[in-house]
């Protein structure tokens, strides 16, 4: 049982040496004694988490895979259909639309959000009086629900709304921003980008404030201009923040639902804006094709997993940790 014992010395050493070598020291068993059996305490503290992990996340992921191989309307017992759901999905025009929209949404909104957030973070990274009040204006969308925001933007995008009003000032003809299948998704992306900005700005701001001013001083001495300082100091030193924000944005973008539900409900215009999660919701919880919905869920899971892994693989090439 001594393996489990937390030697007091071990803990101190771990802190001192950064965690690596402490466990080796404990394993020698020099500090066995009064704290044997701490795993029982660990079990007590972790009991809710372990149950949750098994019943609410790990178990259901496996269950989804099983269900995706069945046909089930929740009335009759499920019947095994093999990979039929997957092959059917790949021939389903609505699913393919959802898939294409999700990729488009992600491919546009992630880079757009990051670039704008970086610019904004640099703009509000000032040491001036009252800056926290100014930042509050920029941060406000952070706490808003996508549902309420989508309704507000639906009105801004409406034929008589703000965008057409402003556009008419500049001689632009009125657009049907949301009802036009070509403009609908880009319009939703603009809205989501606005709403997602504050979180990214906050992360970048923390990153910017972590850059030691000596670096800037050093390149200034070398005669570097504003752009060179940005290119050779800010960007490289900010890559960890960019990486971190990127992964969050990527995962979030693949899961977009609320604004699609409000703006596309019920799937208008002609399903032009439906996304994968909307498809899952509609298939599973409106039409009760649980097998098909599970298969779509697994496809979503695989897409997110593959992109996350690829993204992490690229890390060595462009992320510089100080």
């Amino acid at each position: 049982m001594s393996i489990f014992s937390l030697a007091r010395t071990g803990s101190v050493l771990r802190r001192a040496r950064g965690g690596a070598s402490a466990s080796a020291l404990e394993r020698t068993g020099r500090h066995r004694g009064p704290r044997d059996g701490e795993w029982r305490w660990a079990l007590l503290f972790l009991a809710p988490t372990l149950i949750g992990l098994a019943v609410l996340s790990a178990g259901p992921i496996i269950a989804t895979l099983g269900l995706s191989l069945t046909s089930w309307d929740m009335l009759e017992p499920p019947t095994f259909v093999g990979i039929d759901n997957y092959t059917n999905l790949l021939g389903d025009a609505r699913f393919l639309t959802a898939l294409r929209n999700t990729f488009f949404y992600t491919a546009v909104s992630v880079p757009l959000g990051l670039i704008l957030a970086l610019g904004l973070a640099m703009a509000v990274n000032q040491r001036i009086r009252g800056i926290s009040w100014i930042r509050t204006m920029y941060f406000l969308p952070l706490v808003t629900s996508s549902t309420a925001i989508a309704i507000v933007w639906l009105w801004m995008y409406s034929p008589t709304g703000l965008f057409n009003n402003l556009g008419s000032v500049f001689g632009m003809s009125p657009q049907r921003w949301i009802a036009n299948p070509t403009l609908a998704l880009p319009s939703i992306i603009v809205m989501s980008t606005w709403q997602g900005l504050p979180a990214n700005v906050i992360i970048f701001l923390a990153g910017l404030q972590g850059i030691p001013s000596e670096y800037y001083d050093a390149v200034s001495v070398d005669g570097a201009g504003r752009f060179a300082r940005f290119r050779y100091v800010t960007v490289p030193l900010l890559t960890p923040s960019i990486f971190f924000t990127g992964i969050l944005a990527l995962i979030g973008a693949f899961q977009v639902f609320d604004q699609i539900y409000v703006m596309a409900n019920p799937g208008k215009p002609g399903g032009a804006t439906i996304t994968l999660v909307y498809f899952i919701y509609e298939t599973g919880f409106r039409n009760f094709h649980m097998g098909l919905a599970s298969a779509a869920s697994w496809i979503l899971f695989l897409i997110v997993a593959v992109f996350t892994i690829i993204y992490f693989r690229t890390q060595n090439r462009w992320v510089h940790y100080q």
Binding site: P60, I131, I134, Y138, T147, W155, L197, A199, N265, G284
Partner: protein, 308 residues
């Protein structure tokens, strides 16, 4: 603000003149900075301003007038109309439902995440790092993957007080999960617990305190700021959530603010003043919370990238 050194050779008079000019240019730049930043901030707030002004207009004014014209009068009746628009319920009911669900979810997460965080930060046991990695891995899993099995699970859990006889149609699926841990909260609090010097716990241990007592009497009180951060975020997530309430709630009186608002929007298409009033009212609690506790929001995002 790096100030370039003055050329040593410049005569006294010219020196003063230059620094006076420089001082003026600094003031001008400051002014430009404030103007630019405030203008940008106002641009960022356009949707909010647009929402507020529409919510105070009449329907005919909304369609007739130019953008950002002031309403002819403050038509507060949009708010009362919106509040009572749906049959048999008011928005007050939705607020109560959201408040209950968000509060319960917050309590659940605070308790179980801080417990798990203590185990991962302080206790030593075999498989700790693997288990912690496993929990962190659930962060990148899109939760929609577990939507169907969880729905089925809740359908099998009996509940005598609901029409269905199970948890579907009740608010239980929306907050009971929170009493079974969570990756974000666990990670957030663990990071904080790791910074607490172990001397305190050691002293308590010498006095005969067990891990539970050390957790409750030392770690939890010290972690108040980070617990507040988690509380604020969980409350916000629950308050703003749409998909889960949409799936589990069946009748109007049980709706949360978001589902109620989305339903209301479907019923009152074109009535923009009432809809803006509804959107504003549903956003208000979170906006007030944000204005009161901005630094907790900022801290939470900076530490762990939590977001809405």
């Amino acid at each position: 603000m790096t100030v370039a050194p003055m050329p040593a050779s410049s005569p006294e008079a010219s020196h003063y003149r230059t620094s006076a000019r420089r001082r003026t240019s600094i003031v001008v730049r400051r002014l430009a900075l404030y103007t630019g930043l405030t203008a940008g901030g106002l641009a960022m707030m356009i949707p909010f301003l647009w929402m507020v002004q529409t919510s105070l207009k009449t329907r005919s004014e909304v369609f007739a007038s130019a953008p950002f014209s002031f309403p002819t009068g403050l038509h507060w009746e949009n708010y009362t109309n919106m509040w009572n628009a749906l049959p048999g319920v008011t928005f007050g009911t939705f607020f109560q439902n959201s408040l209950f669900i968000a509060t319960m979810a917050t309590i659940g997460q605070l308790i179980t995440c801080s417990m798990a965080a203590y185990a991962f930060a302080v206790l030593k046991f075999r498989g700790k790092s693997i288990l912690f990695a496993l929990i962190l891995a659930t962060l990148i899993i899109p939760f929609q993957v577990v939507l169907v099995p969880n729905f089925i699970l809740y359908r099998y859990l009996p509940w005598p007080y609901s029409d269905s006889g199970n948890w579907i149609g009740t608010n239980l699926p929306l907050w009971v999960w929170a009493f079974f841990g969570g990756a974000f909260g666990t990670f957030l609090i663990r990071q904080f617990f790791l910074t607490i010097p172990s001397d305190l716990a050691d002293a308590a241990r010498v006095d005969g305190a067990n891990p539970w007592q050390i957790f409750v009497r030392i770690y939890v009180p010290l972690a108040t700021p980070v617990l507040a951060t988690l509380a604020i975020f969980q409350f916000m997530w629950s308050w703003n959530d749409l998909l889960d309430p949409l799936i589990y709630l069946r009748d109007l009186p049980s709706y949360t603010t978001t589902v109620g608002l989305a339903f209301f929007q479907g019923q009152y298409i074109g009535n923009w003043p009432a809809m803006m009033a509804g959107a504003l009212v549903s956003l208000l609690p979170m906006i007030i919370l944000f204005l009161l506790a901005q630094r907790y929001f900022v801290r939470g995002i900076t530490i762990s990238g939590l977001k809405g």
